[in-house]
Symmetry: C2
Subunit: 591 residues, 2 copies
């Protein structure tokens, strides 16, 4: 049976040895001493492995069911949800004034990875609530905040995001859901929304739907979209629950995975809603939390790769099959464990070097969010805005790929549901799609983010890598990590230059290479994180660490990433530089 | 709803314009005139799209069920199976003396792709029967052939292959199933086999199990394994069916996909069996049909990629979302179709260039099987033996990857089962695992096939590519296709040289690069097929073809493969040349 152990040690290494958060200048970081974060991570890891992980296959097998309009979550979800609430986990990084713990986003991300790895479908209920609460926090009136936030921070009420309609996903300008103004200042919301995660369920007394809709008579297209708060149950002035609102779940979708999360068709039949933020500025309100939501999805990619890797590794050590070609490693047994075989190791090292590199990248990104939100650091804000599509697109693509590789270690057993490996791939698959499909992330990166503020942020990124390489080069033993990073960074710059020169003449020359660029960028980021981790481990070893095996392993894993993954950047560059012609040559009719 | 149209035109192009089968010297090929194969392909395409494809989602949703030891296939499977039998399709390439149609393997492969694309789970019932019948044909006594083959060729009786046991998959030397000799020449077979596709079902009167087992007292390990015929129902001397044999299905596995095929745990409780071939030579008997079985699995990779591509393409043309960045293409509609977007095209071109290149590679491989089996061509036999792991491993890896990309085109709808795209990925996933997991294919390629007969076959392959490039270079317009092929072939040779020089000192230096080598080899093969297809299309255009659009499309697709996929070979080489150290550095305990 599959199991999950939270990677607390690795997370601590990233937070303190690499990112050195407790000495960073971001407000609140001075409280993030290693002993404190260790205690939080241990506690979170415990609930992840003991409470959430055992429910993961239950959720997958049972799924959600709807009876007479009521949606029931899988056995055990309700109890577990209450345990999460009791521990205060849903509000870990929410403001204390609304009942949150007020901790930094980076710590929320660290524990979020554990919860998501142990049970993605379950963790989405609180994740979506977090997203909706963030939107109300950023754009709500004082009254709205007072009404909804304490309940949502505690997850007594959960939240949803309603964007997609049957005929429009990415292109929200085509939206048909309408919100008609009423005399009392409210709106009547009418329309159908699909793919609404956690749209209806039995975990909370109320569900606060955030719904994008058009106010009749407003601007056409995306500029006429506004955001509304539409609670499942109307809230009385005293904060108590009143009558049901005219919103209902029409259907639960049958999905490939995340069966434990109810994905609903939501029908708004003249439901009462209230404007959140300004009229016709719904997309802006959405976008303020998009970075966080997308980083949260990138986290899911890492999280599923982690649990899949853990189980693949255990199986590779346990399953006896064949002999080491250089001589038996388990001479008294009938065969050697799978892990002796070079190609099994190649597979495992790809998983390990991705998961650890990606975790570091993700947590570094989270510190930039904190620097921006808590410290008002505009440069950090620009940098994370640039890298958000990379975190979302690259980490979910590779995360999925790694779950598939982990499944492969199991041979035929990987294909049998009972063994659990199939679920990780099926659950991980959605992260490449939702919150903007990965092709849209690539478009966002190349079509918007590269040129944002006159290309300032990407230039800052290149400078940062250059400065890092220059500094690191002066440390003994770093050359082997810095050189591949330099080469990869040169490839990335060459790709950006190609886009600049060719994209001027023909935007397709840039867009045809956008997906490769996103992956090229991802490898440079993971390469940099591996260099930084190697540097931290070299320093620890030089300082006489009491855990030389851990740091030795880090160095070996860094070497693997440099030798085996960084060469991909050259291929991505070659593909990018082949331009638009090979991609765009065919008429649609001739495909 | 998803649909399937057999790619008959493309198959005809490969068979005649590229492979020119009707003028080849292989016995039986002279009857393969274009008009004849066209008629066969049309008829097969019709049954694939009209009978098998509609049952594909039915099989996925219903699955197989067992009641009181009886296994029921999904609604409609039995009727469809009878239609396939009535058309003589199961025996298309089987000898006429046993009721087959006696056609070449290449034609069987061509139609097999259609059936498998339309419904993989269904087609496996006859595919496994074909495999088992081939084994009896090659190793059976005259009496065994007379008893089983006419029934199996007609699929009145189906067949299975029983290799895996709970504790042993790849490492069959660990096998525990035993076969005790009886006085009448039969054996009592006892043991448990798992993952037995089509192990029990309601489509046929009898099931002929081929079972690997050990005769007590024989050699230890893999050298003591023999192959047995164990029919579900014993056959009387007059050919009529007698009593049930002591073999039963213990359980149907819950799998990630191919739900329409019953994957059974089979229990042999002193079942009566008969030796097939020689004592202790069971693996040899298995291996004679392994090439064909593995090529058949490679075919499944192509087939699932084809149906996924067809549906992704249709959706990309139909779904309106966003605007072409260079100006509206559907100005009167609310948005442009997805296919205008460069990254959607990049995705579609990757699918298209893979599927068509892979089909050509597959069918070329099938002509080598015919040249070997029908023409006794030893060189062809050596070449296909070398390339079999590439066909199996590369085509199923990439085929799966393409089904995932096709699913991505659908956005959120790709994740909803109702839309059908999820099934293609779930079904395609198994092909990377069964008939030897793809890591085992890579091991077979690098550990066995490269050095086979003193490296003769790989040298012949390199010579063939070199000669081809030299000849093709003299044709106007071929340089753009030949140059990338030359470069890729040089990368492949450099990798082989690296294995030869470093592998001598340390076998892990070769094995750590085996997976990359398999993919590098695959790109060279597809590159060569694309060059050959480009050459055929240039010739057709020069000769004034009446279908210039088809050939223009081929050339554009060839250019895409050269520009966008062939650069992968450099990365694979770089990874290979990084050697064993990055892969093997860690102690298993330190992972």
């Amino acid at each position: 049976m599959p199991s999950y152990t939270a990677p607390t040690k690795d997370t601590q290494f990233v937070l303190h040895d690499v990112l050195k958060i407790s000495t960073a200048s971001t407000p609140g970081y001075d409280e993030m001493e290693p002993a404190f974060t260790a205690a939080v991570l241990e506690e979170a890891g415990k609930i992840a492995s003991e409470v959430l992980a055992p429910l993961n296959p239950v959720g997958d097998t049972e799924g959600c069911r709807m009876e007479n309009g009521v949606v029931y979550t899988p056995t055990g979800f309700k109890d577990a949800f209450q345990q999460m609430q009791a521990g205060g986990w849903p509000g870990i990084d929410m403001p204390e004034e609304f009942g949150g713990q007020g901790m930094p986003y980076v710590l929320g991300t660290a524990v979020g990875e554990f919860f998501s790895g142990a049970n993605q479908a379950f963790t989405m209920y609180q994740g979506l609530t977090h997203g909706a609460a963030s939107a109300i926090l950023a754009h709500g009136t004082e009254e709205q905040k007072a009404t909804y936030l304490p309940k949502m921070v505690a997850c007594d009420w959960t939240g949803t995001m309603n964007l997609t309609e049957p005929h429009c996903g990415t292109d929200l300008g085509l939206m048909r859901t309408k919100a008609e103004p009423q005399d009392d200042g409210s709106y009547r919301v009418t329309g159908q929304k699909i793919f609404i995660s956690a749209g209806e369920h039995d975990l909370a007394d109320n569900i606060v739907h955030l719904v994008l809709a058009k106010i009749p008579g407003g601007p056409a297209g995306i500029k006429g979209v506004s955001l509304f708060i539409v609670p499942k149950v109307l809230v009385n002035e005293d904060g108590s629950l009143g009558p049901r609102n005219a919103v209902s779940c029409g259907k639960i979708e049958e999905k490939m995975g995340i069966h434990g999360n109810s994905t609903c068709v939501m029908n708004y039949d003249g439901a009462t809603g209230w404007l959140l933020g300004e009229e016709h500025k719904g997309m802006r309100a959405m976008f303020t939390m998009m970075n966080e939501a997308r980083i949260g999805v990138g986290m899911q990619g890492v999280a599923q790769a982690e649990i899949a890797f853990q189980n693949a590794l255990a199986y590779a050590k346990d399953r006896l099959q064949g002999r080491d070609v250089t001589g038996p490693k388990n001479p008294d047994g009938p065969a050697d464990p799978l892990i002796v075989h070079p190609d099994i190791r190649r597979n495992l090292m790809e998983q390990k070097s991705f998961v650890e590199g990606a975790r570091a990248f993700l947590l570094w990104g989270a510190t930039l969010i904190d620097a921006s939100h808590r410290g008002g650091d505009k440069d950090a804000d620009g940098l994370i805005s640039l890298m958000t599509p990379v975190i979302k697109g690259f980490l979910t693509d590779k995360g999925y790929e790694m779950t598939v590789q982990a499944q492969q270690i199991y041979g035929g057993h990987g294909y049998i549901e009972e063994w659990g490996m199939s679920q990780y791939t099926r659950d991980a698959r959605i992260a490449m799609i939702y919150e903007g499909a990965n092709g849209v992330q690539a478009l966002d990166l190349v079509g918007r983010k590269l040129a944002q503020d006159g290309g300032k942020h990407v230039m800052a990124f290149f400078d940062m890598v250059k400065t890092y390489c220059k500094d690191a080069d002066e440390t003994d033993g770093m050359a082997e990590f810095v050189e591949p990073l330099k080469r990869a960074s040169k490839d990335l710059q060459a790709a950006a230059m190609y886009f600049m020169s060719e994209g001027m003449k023909n935007p397709n020359a840039a867009l045809a290479g956008s997906y490769d660029f996103m992956h090229l960028f991802g490898h440079v980021c993971l390469g940099m994180m591996w260099a930084r981790m190697a540097e931290a481990s070299l320093a620890a070893l030089a300082a006489g660490t009491d855990d030389p095996a851990f740091h030795g392993t880090k160095l070996a894993t860094a070497r693997f990433y440099m030798a085996r993954q960084m060469p991909m950047t050259a291929t991505h560059l070659a593909r990018i530089q082949s331009g638009a012609e090979p991609v765009m040559a065919l008429d649609a009719a001739n495909f």
